[in-house]
């Protein structure tokens, strides 16, 4: 300490603090205990003190610490030994005279003489005890008494042994494979939650499930002094990601199997027990109060106004929203109680209001027209009273099932939704379109309308898909993941792994050629085609030229030379702005063009159908065989995607309006059974016309290309061979339905390769062909036999999936029994 220069030592507290701030040390408390340390620090900073390599003072300090810790431990040892004595209450004896410590060893060991077993000081007695585990010792004032004690046969605690063996016999459970965690480990996990390190959290927890589930099958208290479990901490530090992950992991059956694998190694864990376990642990996690305010994680999140965490927690069906804390407040009472700005208050409050769902009810065999059911509340769904009342006692009456759900939303919104779903606006185009959809699509029409309404109102949407046997929304990641897993399964079922590789490669190559095609198509050059094709083509090209000019004059498309996005996930959308200019002369030419094109197509069809080996599709073979059109429509879809940037706003517009338009066209064209489609003359004529136009343009290009080397692609029928469709090897209406459900959701080939491949192949068929796909028999809902499986993870909004899945089959099952009789 003498090294501190006087100038510094003399400074008063305030002066010293100022000096410290000058050298860049934040204000520190200066007390007699800290002052000298900071003086030294200041001196060091000022360079007046030269430190040696190793700070001597520090060394000294360390030494001191070691010494004290050694003392402490020995002290602790002594204390341990004396505890019993102190309890016996003869403290005064110590003062009176000598004390003997008699050690009693088990009788069969006569290795020690009596004298050897009597010690004068406790230390040696204790060290002796350390070597002989069975021995026990007692303190005596009289040496003789001590001798007697030593000679006595030791009392063997047989009870102890028995209980241990008994417990072993009774509890046949093996100890958990995972080692028990120390508080330091738990603190690490707590810190990782605080830092929002989801990855690390994941590895910790999957590495040892005991991080989350304690020996008593209860949540682990990461902060035992406040009795915080992981969810409390995540809520307190505003970590929605962790909350989501945690709840997902806890509901993962695999996690529990990992935890309890050792218990039932041979027998698989009973499903019932597993769900009970999951429910129990999740319930405990969500609703256990902590020690300070007796608050649940939801209280904490509400209190601090963490909207995201509140969403995660309150959307879970097991989360109790009416728990009371120390001050008799429910979570909704404490919203934003600890936050300065109450901006989030109304938002959080909305989560506590009753939430409504609008269901769509269908009969299980689709024998009755679907109807929009009456509103359901959160309570209805979480309490499992979703079983729909049967109107009649007739056992042959179809079973009603909820096929789709929109929600949750406020009651006002729900009523509005219900109204617009049942009675669409009759005046607007919207109403007309909905009517068309409803009529044209028996299986999915109502769903499509509901889906669109929900999308417009930005309300979560769920519908039942028979092939998944579950509810899903394909515009969400979760739904797409389900679809992806389903397709993977389908692929696996169909192929062995190597051939699926080939499949991918085929598509990659075809993708390349697609690009080629697109670029060729992009810069339609008359000369090039003329040179390649014959006079007929020349003729077409002339028309194309005119056609192009038509499109240009209408300002609908610009033929771009570079395909910007050949693998666009968008379904080819043909919604267009209705252009005011009416070109009748051009339309005549178009009519002609169409006629000729259809002729060409027919010719092709004949040629191709001869080559086709698998022409077993009954429905579609009449006019358009699906297998003959792929390249053409591939081009068309990619062509449209080329145009996507131009008419982007339209593309994102209404999908189903276009579909319905097409459906109308389709009806018209199929009804007259002729090859020439009459031009629509409705008020929306120009719109319909332009969509036809759009279909024709690529078709034209295709006709030009049939004679070029690219014909190889028109000849392939790899669609039927290599692609897996949702209901088997043949495309069906379900494929179209799912495509419609996916709508314009972005699908990345990297994330969902199978979905992408499937989509590409489905989209490669023309709209017409797709409309012709029939409903496979399996789509008729076998309401009784197909039980939806609960999702592993809670969906943020769409959580009704799991309770629905649970409640669904119980009523149906009972109904089935009654039907059998």
């Amino acid at each position: 300490m003498t090294e501190i220069p006087e100038s510094i030592a003399k400074l008063t507290n305030d002066e010293l603090r100022k000096q410290l701030i000058k050298v860049g040390i934040q204000p520190v408390p200066l007390t007699p205990t800290t002052k000298k340390l900071y003086q030294k620090k200041l001196a060091g900073r000022l360079g007046t003190l030269t430190f040696s390599e190793k700070d001597p003072s520090k060394e000294k300090y360390d030494g001191l610490q070691e010494k004290t810790s050694a003392e402490l431990s020995s002290h602790a040892l002594v204390k341990y030994g004396t505890e019993n004595e102190e309890n016996s209450g003869d403290k005064t004896a110590e003062k009176k005279g000598k004390i003997f410590y008699a050690v009693q060893v088990s009788s069969n060991e006569n290795l020690f003489s009596v004298e050897q077993l009597i010690f004068d000081d406790k230390q040696s007695a204790l060290s002796f005890l350390m070597k002989n585990k069975d021995a026990r010792f007692k303190r005596f004032l009289d040496r003789n008494e001590a001798k007697d004690f030593v000679k006595q046969p030791p009392l063997v605690c047989k009870g102890d042994d028995q209980t241990t063996t008994e417990s072993k016999a009774v509890g046949s459970e093996k100890p958990n494979n995972f080692k028990a965690l120390k508080q330091t480990d738990l603190t690490k996990l707590a810190q990782c939650i605080e830092k929002n390190d989801v990855e690390l959290f994941n590895t910790f927890v999957w590495g040892n499930p005991r991080y989350l589930i304690s020996a008593g099958d209860a949540p682990v208290l990461l902060k035992p002094n406040v009795r915080y479990n992981a969810l409390h901490i995540a809520s307190k530090f505003n970590r929605p990601n962790i909350v989501e992950k945690l709840l997902a992991i806890l509901q993962e059956p695999a996690f529990h199997e990992l935890m309890y694998a050792s218990n039932s190694a041979c027998t698989k864990v009973d499903e019932n027990i597993l769900t009970q376990r999951i429910d129990r642990i999740v319930d405990l996690y969500l609703n256990t109060p902590e020690k300070g305010f007796y608050e649940t994680p939801l209280h904490i999140a509400c209190k601090f106004g963490f909207v995201d965490v509140v969403i995660e927690l309150s959307s879970h069906p097991l989360c109790c929203k009416t728990m009371k804390n120390k001050f008799d407040q429910t979570p909704s009472d404490v919203i934003c109680g600890r936050r300065k700005d109450p901006s989030a208050k109304s938002q959080i409050e909305s989560f506590f209001r009753d939430q409504y769902f609008v269901p769509l009810v269908r009969s299980h065999d689709n024998s009755m027209p679907p109807s929009v059911g009456k509103l359901l509340t959160t309570g209805d769904i979480s309490h499992g009273s979703l079983d729909l009342p049967r109107d009649s006692d007739d056992p042959t009456a179809p079973v009603l099932v909820v096929n789709a759900l929109a929600g949750p939303m406020a009651s006002q919104e729900a009523k509005e939704m219900q109204r617009s779903w049942t009675t669409p606006d009759k005046k607007g185009i919207c109403g007309r379109r909905f009517r068309d959809i409803r009529r044209s699509d028996v299986d999915r029409g109502e769903e499509r309308i509901g889906r669109e309404l929900a999308k417009k109102a930005q309300i979560p949407w769920l519908e039942y898909w028979d092939f998944l046997q579950n509810f899903a929304d394909f515009t969400t990641d979760d739904g797409l993941t389900q679809l992806e897993t389903y397709l993977i399964k389908q692929t696996e079922r169909k192929y062995s792994p190597p051939s699926s590789d080939i499949e991918v490669s085929v598509f990659e190559s075809s993708d390349d050629s697609l690009k080629e095609l697109c670029s060729q198509m992009g810069d339609v050059s008359v000369d090039e085609n003329v040179s390649k094709t014959g006079t007929t083509c020349k003729h077409y090209d002339n028309i194309a030229k005119e056609h192009e000019s038509v499109t240009k004059s209408r300002g609908l498309y610009s033929v771009t030379s570079t395909p910007t996005n050949t693998r666009t996930p968008h379904t080819p959308l043909m919604e267009n702005k209705t252009s005011p200019n009416n070109v009748t002369s051009k339309e005549k030419q178009l009519f002609f063009l169409r006629e000729t094109l259809i002729k060409v197509r027919k010719e092709q069809m004949f040629r191709l159908s001869e080559n086709l080996s698998t022409g077993n599709s009954t429905e579609t073979s009449t006019r358009h065989h699906p297998n003959m059109t792929p390249p053409l429509q591939k081009m068309s879809s990619s062509y449209i995607s080329v145009n996507a940037p131009v008419s982007n706003s339209d593309v994102t517009g209404d999908l189903s309006s276009k579909i319905s338009d097409l459906a109308c066209n389709e009806k018209e064209s199929s009804s007259d059974n002729g090859s020439i489609r009459s031009l629509p003359k409705s008020s929306e004529g120009s719109s319909d016309d332009s969509s036809d136009l759009k279909r024709l343009l690529p078709a034209f290009n295709h006709s030009g290309n049939t004679t070029t080397p690219l014909t190889q692609y028109s000849n392939d029928n790899f669609h039927s061979k290599l692609t897996v469709y949702l209901t088997g090897d043949e495309p069906s209406k379900i494929d179209r339905d799912v495509i419609l459900a996916i709508s314009d959701t972005e699908i990345s080939a990297a994330k969902y390769p199978h979905v992408w491949t499937w989509m590409k192949s489905v989209l490669s068929y023309s709209e017409d062909d797709r409309l012709k796909w029939s409903t496979p028999k399996s789509t008729i809902r076998r309401g009784v036999s197909s039980f939806p499986t609960p999702l592993g993870t809670p969906l943020k909004f769409a959580w009704p999936a799991s309770p629905l899945a649970k409640t669904r089959h119980t009523p149906l099952k009972s109904l089935q029994n009654t039907e059998l009789f």
């Binding site: 204000p27 200066l30 305010f293 001050f327």
Partner: protein, 90 residues
């Protein structure tokens, strides 16, 4: 004390973590500023001082008075706040 303030309740009910010194009951804007200037910027630093004074009420009140000029009420509030916290969590 018959009734405790909201601030007191909030402080005593949970771990102090990184709470600032102003979150201690009895320490408002002014005292908080003074304490921060003197280096006691976090609640745990004041807790350290409180512990060094061996949880002694008289010494702590004295220290509060000397260091930042807290009156008896303020010092008392802070004292009971820290004391109860220690009872719960230490």
């Amino acid at each position: 004390m018959s009734s405790t303030s909201q601030k007191h309740k909030e402080f005593v009910g949970e771990p102090m973590g990184e709470k600032g010194v102003r979150e201690i009951a009895g320490i408002g804007e002014v005292l908080g500023k003074r304490l921060t200037d003197k280096g006691y910027d976090k609640a745990y630093v004041v807790l350290g001082q409180f512990l060094i004074l061996k949880k002694n009420e008289e010494l702590f009140l004295d220290w509060m008075k000397e260091e930042v000029g807290a009156n008896k009420k303020q010092g008392g509030d802070a004292y009971s706040c820290l004391k109860q916290w220690c009872e719960a969590f230490l």
